[in-house]
Symmetry: C2
């Protein structure tokens, strides 16, 4: 492998990783990368061999977060798993003290230009809350300064829940937004994709402006929030006459909410519904179709039910939406599902 295989954008911090591999005395390491960086796995493996003589096994299975360390790499004779691109989740139970090293990766893209563009759109709107995902947290001070130079007030929320950096949000944890929702007029999300800013909007109740530093675009997502809420309402309604309901519990270490799933199963039965508990690693349309139930409640990553809405032929609800279906919660009290 040559360095030409490497990303221009990310520094994989391999000297630092090698020092930790040597300190752990690991002869073979497991390498895990998020989907967008998977193709750098072979180059990372090659460099680790050159730098510290470690052999590698690369995990090819999908990985969407630190909730999903590839513990099966330990069965492949790996002494250490190196999970790139995610921050360790505080308090996540990893069985048997599995040796997992989480290596956060900072995106090299400059956030200042798109933040300047966003500042024009945000002028006169009052205090702006800044939120982002792990790869841009190191760039938040630059974004704050850029907003302030444009005469705006900026606030960055303290981390909480599963996030560890100020301003950081995860698909299952929006505390950095909700904790300052009362003090800001609007949120500015720095990053790409729709799910995280949508989660900020649903969890905080505030408008969110998205600034994508990769394409340099600034968009508002109010229409998206309304559309998603209509979808969620429709899903609850469609699940209304479901005869058989599957309560889904995740098998990934950081997505196991077994107690919650069993509680929902009991609750369903008490309300006269037929329900059973289904364990899944990946919630795919095929898996749900093969099981053949009429509706599902997902206790997995909240993103799974909402983001993949159109991939599922039957309704898939979040736990809180299921409470609405069972009459245990009002639609007016709709809340976004989060891991606590």
């Amino acid at each position: 492998m040559t360095d030409s295989h490497f990303s221009d954008e990310y520094d994989f911090r391999l000297e630092e990783v090698c020092a930790k591999i040597e300190r752990a005395g690991a002869a073979r390491v497991g390498i895990q990368l998020p989907e967008g960086l998977k193709r750098h796995g072979p180059a990372v493996a090659g460099r680790l061999r050159e730098l510290c003589g470690a052999e590698s096994v690369i995990s090819g299975d999908p990985c969407y977060g630190a909730c999903d360390p590839a513990l099966d790499l330990l069965d492949m004779g790996c002494d250490l798993i190196v999970n790139f691109g995610h921050a360790e989740l505080p308090g996540m139970p990893i069985e048997s003290d599995a040796p997992v090293l989480f290596v956060e990766l900072a995106a090299g893209v400059d956030v200042a230009p798109v933040t300047r563009k966003a500042a024009v759109r945000l002028a006169g709107k009052g205090t702006v809350g800044l939120v982002t995902t792990i790869q841009h947290v190191a760039a938040l001070p630059v974004a704050v300064r850029t907003l302030e130079e444009a005469g705006l007030k900026a606030r960055v929320g303290e981390p909480g829940g599963r996030a560890v950096h100020p301003g950081q949000v995860l698909g299952c944890s929006f505390r950095a937004a909700t904790s300052i929702a009362d003090e800001v007029s609007v949120f500015l999300f720095i990053g790409s994709g729709h799910f995280h800013p949508l989660g900020v909007a649903l969890a905080s109740g505030k408008d969110v402006v998205v600034a994508d530093p990769y394409v340099g675009e600034v968009v508002e997502i109010n229409d998206l929030r309304e559309r998603i809420l209509r979808q969620r309402h429709a899903a609850i309604t469609r699940a209304g006459d479901a005869a058989d309901i599957g309560i889904i519990v995740g098998t990934k270490p950081g997505q196991r909410r077994l107690k919650l799933a069993l509680k929902l199963e009991s609750m369903a039965r008490e309300k006269g519904r037929r329900a059973c508990t289904i364990a899944l690693k990946e919630m795919t349309g095929d898996a749900l179709e093969n099981l053949g139930l009429d509706a599902y409640v997902s206790t997995l990553c909240p993103r799974a039910a909402i983001d993949d809405y159109f991939r599922f032929k039957v309704p898939v609800l979040t736990p809180q939406e299921f409470e609405i279906l069972l009459g245990e919660r009002d639609w007016e009290d709709y809340v976004f599902d989060e891991f606590h």
Copy 2:
């Protein structure tokens, strides 16, 4: 759940299963079913609760054999995993003596009519070897009798490799065919699908006639064998100029051939190829594309490389095909990959 949810074709042997659940003192059991029977999971769970008070968690992830017991159900508080539809694989290493109960299911379909139809086609061809998959092994004596009544000689091979019943073949184990290949003129495969009879043809070098008891059809697969061999030859040729090769090792307990994978990786390097080892639970087209390598060698279930040929954009070879690519084996010595 009501009994009306149950299959007409299969008897799930739940009284017997309950006796074993009670003997094991299991309060919560994990239920695992092959894809075609997944939709009976909720009814099975309901009946187990009625019969012996056991709570259940159903595995919704794909399961294609006894090589893939859902050990993650143990993390869901299950004291026992009940794997329906597969025979235990002798000698398969299941870590930590995981409590898995394998419940073989016999298909209720009568094999006599389609065997009579096949007998007409086989008249004058000499001794017929009978082979089938687990769900029809109990019906093989009926098939033997039917062939004999038609004036044919029939032979059923002793089990070996990973098979435990006379005449039984698996996607990774064709010993019941190869062990009697010299003594028969042709094989009759009882069952549906193309992969198993194709494996019999490739592993034994004999012609195979397929008798599908579900649709009552009898077909020969010589054309298919030739077509697949052309595909395999093309895959080897296409992999010829691959710069980066991924050696895939399976993480399912019965598909882990780590030693073989590491040997192939070394062999590739010795021949001046860039290679790395990739761990995968499911080999999907998406996973291979995200990794972005030019060619792969699969040490998973042999079926994965061959059956999914058209789902992969880059060549995926079996270990023996990779030996041909590296000049370690001649095309004339092509053999089908089996687990030993």
